[in-house]
C-alpha cells in the first residue's frame, strides 16, 4: 500500500479528458481530491492523494507524464504524535536513514526530524499509527 499527495497540472488541450478515471480503471489506484481549480486560461490544477500498490502508483504517474500532465510531489513532512508513540521500536527496523533510533540504556525511541527523508516507511509500519504525514496545507488555501 502506497499513498502520496501530488499536484497535477493539466494543459488546456487535455482538461476534458477522463485522465483520473483512467488512473482508477487501468492502474487500480484510488484517489481523494483535495483541491481542484480550472484557471481562466483553461489550465487545470488538482491536488490529490493517490493510493494503490507501489508498482501501479509508479506506472500511473508515468502515464500522467505521457499524456502531458505535469506531476509535482508536494513536500510532505513527517511528524510523530508523541501521545500515541509508546516507544516499542518497530519503526527502527524500517527507517533507512536512522532518523528513528533507540536511545540506550533507556530503550526509548528518538525521532530526529533533520535526518528524515519522508520515505513514509514508518507511517505504515508503526502499529500505533503514531507517525503522521502532513503536507503543506497552504497549497490548498491559495
Amino acid at each position: 500500500m502506497y499513498s502520496k499527495v501530488v499536484l497535477l497540472r493539466f494543459p488546456r488541450e487535455i482538461v476534458n479528458e477522463p485522465i483520473v478515471a483512467n488512473l482508477v480503471k487501468r492502474f487500480d489506484l484510488s484517489f481523494n481530491i483535495l483541491k481542484a481549480t480550472i484557471y481562466p486560461r483553461k489550465e487545470g490544477m488538482v491536488v490529490m492523494e493517490l493510493t494503490g500498490n507501489r508498482k501501479n502508483y509508479n506506472a500511473g504517474v508515468k502515464y500522467l507524464g505521457d499524456v502531458g500532465v505535469k506531476v509535482e510531489n508536494i513536500s510532505q513532512d513527517i511528524r510523530r504524535n508523541e501521545e500515541r508513540c509508546f516507544h516499542c521500536g518497530v519503526c527502527t527496523a524500517v527507517c533507512p536513514t536512522g532518523a528513528l533510533y533507540i536511545e540506550r540504556p533507556e530503550m526509548s525511541v528518538a525521532f530526529e526530524k533533520d535526518r528524515c527523508s519522508a520515505c513514509e516507511l514508518c507511517v505504515i509500519a508503526c502499529p500505533a499509527k503514531a507517525m503522521e504525514v502532513n503536507f503543506d496545507r497552504a497549497l490548498l488555501d491559495s
Partner: protein, 389 residues
Amino acid sequence: MAHYKVKKTIDEINRKIRGGKVVVVTAEEMVDIVKATGPEKAAREIDVVTTGTFSPMCSSGAFINFGHTKPPIKASQVFLNGVPAYAGLAAVDIFIGATEPSIDDPLNKVHPGQFKYGGGHVIEDLVSGKRVELIARSYGTDCYPNREIKKQIRLKDMPNAVLMNPRNAYQNYNCAINLKDDIIYTYMGVLRPKGDNANYATAGQLSPLFNDPYYLTIGLGTRIFLGGAQGYVVWAGTQHNPSVNRGKNGVPLGPGATLMVMGSLKEMNSHWLVGLSILGYGCSLAVGIGVPIPILNEDLAKYTGISDEDIFTQIIDYGKDYPQGKAKSLGEVSYAELKSGTITLNGKTIQTSPVSSYVRAKEVAETLKEWIEVGQFYLSQPQHPLKDI
C-alpha cells in the same frame, strides 16, 4: 521442602503494606541489589519485586453485556464500530476480540495490508470514553421480538464489561529473522530479506514470568496490574508450556508459561490498552501487565535478581521455517545482546529492534511499586498455583 533462612508470608507482607513499612523495588532495581548483597540479605530487606510488560498481545478481548433494549433483542450478529463481535452467548452478551478486523477492511488484498481498525481499537476507544456505534441483528423470538438495533454506546452505559485475555505475558519469545530473498511482514514486525534485521519481544529482566520462572508465587487469583487497573490471573494462558527447556538458572530458553488474565474494563485506561495495526498481519491490542513477586525466601530473591545477561532466546527464521511449521533454532542470544542493538549470527552482524516497549514496561513496574508503597494494592494468595496447572 527447602530449608530457607528467610521465611516470609504474604500475610506478613500485607501487614507491612498496611503499616507503611513495605520495601518494594522494581525487577530492574533488584538486579543490582542481589548482585551487591547476595540473595539472602536481599530477601531480608526486600518484600516485593514489581515486574512489567507492555506489548502486542493478540489473545485479548472483552466480554460485554450491552444492556437490554425496549423491545428486547436476542442479538445474533453484533458489530461495534463495524467490527464483528461474537454473539453466540445470551441475549445481549458479546465478546469482542482484539484481532477482529473491521468488516470492510481490505485485509491483505493489497499486500501488505494496513488493518487500520479492529477489535483492539474498539477496546481502546471504549476505555477512552468514546462513543461506539453498536449494531445488533436478530432473527426475533416470541420473548425477544426486536430484529435490529443501532445506537451509539459508551463504556459507562454498558452494564458489564470485563477484559478477558486468554493468553498474555508469554514467558520468553522468539527472536525473528527472515532468510528469504523478499521482505516479509509478520506479527514480529517487518523483516528485511536475507537475515538483514532481527526483531525480538518481551521486556527481558522486567518481564513478569522471567522473575518467577517456576511460578512459585503466581496462580489463580494472583492480583496484578492490568491495563492500568487491578486485575487477576485466572488460569494458565493457552499454549502454556511449563516443560520448556530451561537454562541452569531455571529460566526458559524459548516460549514457556503464559497467563490468562481478567479485570474490569471500566477501571482501565487507554494509556495501557492501545489498539494496534500490524502491517501485513492484522489488528491487535497492546496490553500493560505487571505482576508483583513477593520475596518469601532467598530463592525468590535470586530469581528476581536475574538480568538480561542471564536470559536467552532462540533465533528463528520467519521467512522459510516458521511458515512451514518447522521452526528450529538457528542460534541462541541473550537479551543483553538483543538490547545492545546488534547480534551476531554465523559471523554476520545483524541489527536488532524490539517490538515490545521497555519504556512502558518500566512504567508498569514503577506504577505497581507506587501502588503497593502507598497501600493501594495488596498482594493476594493464589488459590491454585500455576505450577500445578
